[in-house]
Amino acid sequence: MKYAKLFLLFLMASLLPAVATSQSVLQDDQAQTSGQADAPPGNSHEFYFTRGIYSGEFDDYDEGGRWAVDYPKADHQFLIALKRLSVVDAYGSDNAIELTDPALRQFPLLYAVEVGSMSLTEAEALALRNYLLAGGLLVIDDFWGSWAWDQFLSQMQLVFPDRAIVEVPSEHPVFHAFYNIDRVIQVPNIRQGWAAQQGGPTHEYDGIVPHVRGIFDDDGRLMVLINWNTDLGDAWEWADNPDYPLKFSTYAFEIGINFVIYGMTH
């Protein structure tokens, strides 16, 4: 317990100086584009944290689309942790890309959030299907409750009509590729996280139990990693906020790095 506290302090200290930088990048990006970041300079880095831009049901009401929740600060802060804690040669900024962009295939790991509002076009479903079958890995995050699950399920059936979604067992390499994660915990958003410290619930809607589920290919390799009833992105984004519980940020960074290492080796 003592060591865990020391680790959290170290993590916090390492993140704080970088947050200011990432925030300035955020302002630049927002000024330049309507959400899409500058294209990365070629393929000189091994890893680009790539966020998927998809069509959503609430795009008209939600400026920038639901795909952009926590974007890009969460991405930046995750990259800072990834580069500090591992030797992954990661591009230091965000990299959002539309599912139908041919360049998507150059980034074999894709992150998408708020998929409860996902409403894929036919072209997007086909592009995503081909991406995953070619060898890409999609990491889903931040959608809660049965309503969002049903919506996501309907979208995944457009992509893979005949593939089951199953629970990823705790002994799966994705939980042990970098950190040994023995238990999936629920990571709340900033508001629920603060409430949790006061003894309040961490869940949203009826998403009480967190799950890590997956869609596997014919050879048993993960194609889609689904983090349901949890919000890793918020934990990354608010890791620098003293009001956000460190245990959630720590867990979110750990499992996020595991996803990257797994995605680059399996």
Partner: protein, 754 residues
């Protein structure tokens, strides 16, 4: 009178030369004799009394001269002279008894008919003419050589014609006889080698001329021949193998024919080839499915008017292994390259890639391990652990992540163990990884730039070199044409290691397009280093060929490339117990040489064991031989077996190991009734001329055979011989000695001396 006194004719002394042959003891006595002579001479000068100085000098002169004559005789003087001997000359005639003598040629008819016409005991004109001047000895030669009394013993049934052995045999049989020369009557179906050079040297030294009469046409007008098939000894099951088939033809320029390849009578490949003038090599891609020792037959349908249809088929052996190749992939950082290489070979039961990836400082992640202990301590630090793998892939691993000892082990892994090393590009590879002055730089096939360029990044459109067009690992479609077309459409890759030069002896396979100065970046090169292979593939992301949006999902280019590359890299990796045969095909009655290498777990030689080679005949009967240690190669054991009957044999090696028997993989041996006599069946006049020229004989075409007798009669050897004649017993020496001693006695009497 001269010959009475000097024993030999005067011309011998004029033409010959003197040689003093002193034995060792004679040489030792020579100083003693000189000392005695001096003592005697000086003794005379010490005489006192009535003797005068003149008397002393006269007596000393006579006695000294007599002693000098004795010393001269004792030195056994010789006269070396080339002299015409009185004996009749002897001629050895060597007749080719191989089955190719049954071939018919346009001018001559059957080659064996010529032998009947010329050498029949009753009607043979050449034999009759030879016998008028010489004592003629006949020999027939094929796989073996025998002396025969007449040509009735010829059956033209030998599957092989060993002319070198025949010449040696005849020379030995007639040693000591005044040999006018040897006559070879053959089509010259023999591949010259080093032993021929040695034989010709010996014949020239012994002054034995060889006269050759060539039978057959030196160039067929209408023939197709599969003159050679080259295959690797062994490949992994499922590998694509590139057969190098040489087709020689005359008379069918431009004709398109079908080349069929059969595996145990099952057609595995058919390809149209266009015949070109002379000999042309075709690269034939073959898929290997069935495991075990395979017998492949390459065949071109014979034309109706072909002169030698029998040489349109050729067999070749190929051992298809079903073992698991173990590959250690060492990465200094997580990279998608590892992920996609593992995916590429995931369905290949013969390839197993174990990944060791540094994920953080001093933190490693293992994937694809076979046991919990495998690579537990990181990159192997013992030879036994490292040498358990067949190949190493070195990714973006900086120089400092491998100790000098580990790098030395990698060098030994390649050079001694015979493993494969594949060096991938990356920001910590090659010069950018600090390898410029490292141990591994020495074994790389590329020259690493002196200066690292950490910020170098290029998108490279990969181009094939000529060597890549026929490289089995780079054939990424069913045919060469489709493969080349596919390469042209592959998307560019990223390169972060600017390498422009390969080392002398290395082969450049892939490169970037050349710039205006003609420079290009190396994208793939390889060379052999000791027993193993080293490949440099300095690109960062070959996985783009799997993931790029222009690559169809069904496309197997990336998978095929990596499977083939890793299989090719490891196809020659030796096993700890192996057996090699001196030939894949021999004729019945021939001898096969077997050589086994026996190695320990660290691939050092295993000494003082007794491996057994077992040859299994088609009927299941076995011939077993215990192999003996090679005189100079540790861990190598060898032996020979004679195989009497034709058939399809299997050979393997066994070794007793702590009560159990370890068995090596099987290899196939084809024993045929005939050898390769129908191949290269045209008269090899070049060889026959060379044998004649270098031994100071003559070559004759069959139509000029009647000139042979004249050539033999008029050569300056025939019955002439090099003689060494003793001179110590010449009568003149005895007469001189008696005269000198008598003169001394008379002088003493005359001068009244004692």
């Amino acid at each position: 009178m001269f010959e009475f006194l000097f024993k030999y004719p005067a011309e011998y002394f004029a033409e010959g030369r003197f040689i003093a042959v002193l034995s060792a003891w004679q040489l030792a006595l020579l100083p003693l004799a000189i000392a005695t002579l001096a003592f005697v001479v000086l003794g005379y000068f010490k005489l006192r009394g009535r003797t005068r100085n003149g008397d002393r000098m006269a007596i000393a002169l006579l006695r000294g001269t007599a002693l000098a004559v004795i010393v001269f005789s004792l030195s056994r003087p010789l006269l070396e002279v080339t002299a015409q001997m009185p004996q009749p000359g002897v001629v050895g005639v060597l007749l080719d008894n191989s089955i190719s003598m049954g071939l018919a040629d346009a001018e001559l008819g059957s080659r064996s008919d010529f032998i009947v016409q010329q050498l029949d005991a009753e009607s043979g004109s050449l034999l009759r003419n030879l016998q008028q001047s010489f004592d003629v000895r006949l020999f027939k030669f094929g796989a073996e050589t025998k002396a025969i009394s007449d040509i009735g013993a010829m059956d033209y049934g030998d599957g092989d014609s060993n002319l070198i052995e025949a010449l040696r045999f005849a020379q030995a049989e007639m040693q000591g006889e005044p040999l006018a020369g040897l006559v070879v009557i053959s089509d010259g179906a023999l591949q010259p080698d080093e032993s021929l050079d040695a034989l010709l040297l010996a014949l020239r030294s012994a002054r034995i001329p060889v006269y050759s009469i060539g039978l057959g046409e030196s160039r067929y007008t209408r023939d197709i021949e599969i003159s050679q098939v080259k295959l690797p000894d062994a490949v992994l099951s499922g590998s694509r193998v590139m057969a190098d088939v040489s087709v020689k033809q005359q008379g069918y320029d431009g004709l398109s024919v079908e080349l069929l390849v059969e595996d145990d009578s099952r057609i595995v490949h058919r390809q149209q080839i266009r015949l070109q003038p002379g000999t042309r090599s075709f690269k034939i891609p073959l898929a290997t499915e069935d495991t075990g020792p395979r017998q492949l037959e390459f065949h071109i349908t014979a034309m109706a008017d072909e002169q030698v249809p029998a040489n349109n088929s050729r067999q070749a052996m190929l051992t298809v292994d079903n073992r698991k190749i173990r590959i250690l992939y060492y990465e200094g950082e997580p990279r998608f390259e590892l992920k996609f290489i593992r995916r590429a070979v995931a369905d290949d039961d013969n390839l197993g890639v174990t990944g060791l990836i540094r994920t953080a400082d001093a933190k490693f992640y293992r994937v694809g391990i076979e046991s919990r202990e495998e690579l537990r301590n990181g990159f192997p630090i013992t030879r036994e652990e490292l040498f358990a793998y067949d190949a190493i892939i070195l990714g973006s691993v900086e120089n400092s992540l491998l100790s000098r000892e580990q790098q030395n082990m990698i060098v030994e892994f390649v050079s001694k163990r015979g493993g494969g090393l594949l060096m991938l590009g990356g920001r910590h590879a090659f010069s950018e990884g600090g390898y410029r002055d490292s141990v591994l730089q020495q074994i790389a096939p590329v020259v690493m730039p002196e200066q690292a360029q950490a910020d170098f990044t290029r998108q490279i459109k990969i181009q094939l070199t000529a060597a890549a067009l026929v490289h089995p690992a780079l054939l990424i479609a069913d045919s060469n044409e489709k493969s080349i077309a596919r390469w042209l459409t592959l998307p560019p890759l990223t390169m972060v290691n600017p390498i422009r030069r390969i080392k002398p002896g290395a082969t450049l396979l892939l490169s970037s397009p050349a710039n205006e100065q003609g420079d290009a970046y190396v994208a793939m090169a390889w060379h052999r280093y000791g027993r193993g292979k080293v490949v440099a593939f300095p690109v960062q992301n070959s996985w783009i060929w799997q993931m790029h949006h222009e690559i169809e999902l069904e496309d197997q280019t990336h998978e095929l490339l990596w499977r083939q590359l890793l299989r090719w890299l490891t196809e020659t990796v030796p096993q700890r117990l192996s057996l090699n045969l001196s030939a894949q095909k021999i004729h019945a009655g021939g001898v096969i040489e077997l050589r086994s290498e026996v190695l320990q777990a660290d691939f050092s030689a295993l000494r003082e064991v007794r491996p057994r080679a077992v040859l299994t005949a088609p009927d299941g009967s076995e011939q077993t031989i215990t192999l003996g240690p090679h005189p100079s190669l540790p861990g190598v054991y060898e032996g020979k077996l004679r195989v009497a009957d034709p058939g399809d044999y299997l050979a393997h090696v066994e070794l007793d190991d702590q009560g159990a028997v370890t068995r090596g993989s099987e290899t196939r041996l084809l024993v045929t009734p005939a050898g390769d006599e129908y191949f290269h069946a045209e008269m090899n006049d070049k060889l026959l001329r060379r044998i004649a020229d270098e031994s100071n004989g003559n070559f004759f075409a069959a139509k000029d055979a009647d000139k042979l007798v004249d050539a033999l009669e008029n050569n300056d050897r025939g019955s002439r011989a090099l003689l060494r004649l003793d001179l110590w017993d010449m009568p003149v020496l005895f007469l001189l000695l008696i005269t000198l001693l008598s003169a001394e006695w008379v002088y003493r009497r005359w001068r009244s001396l004692a």
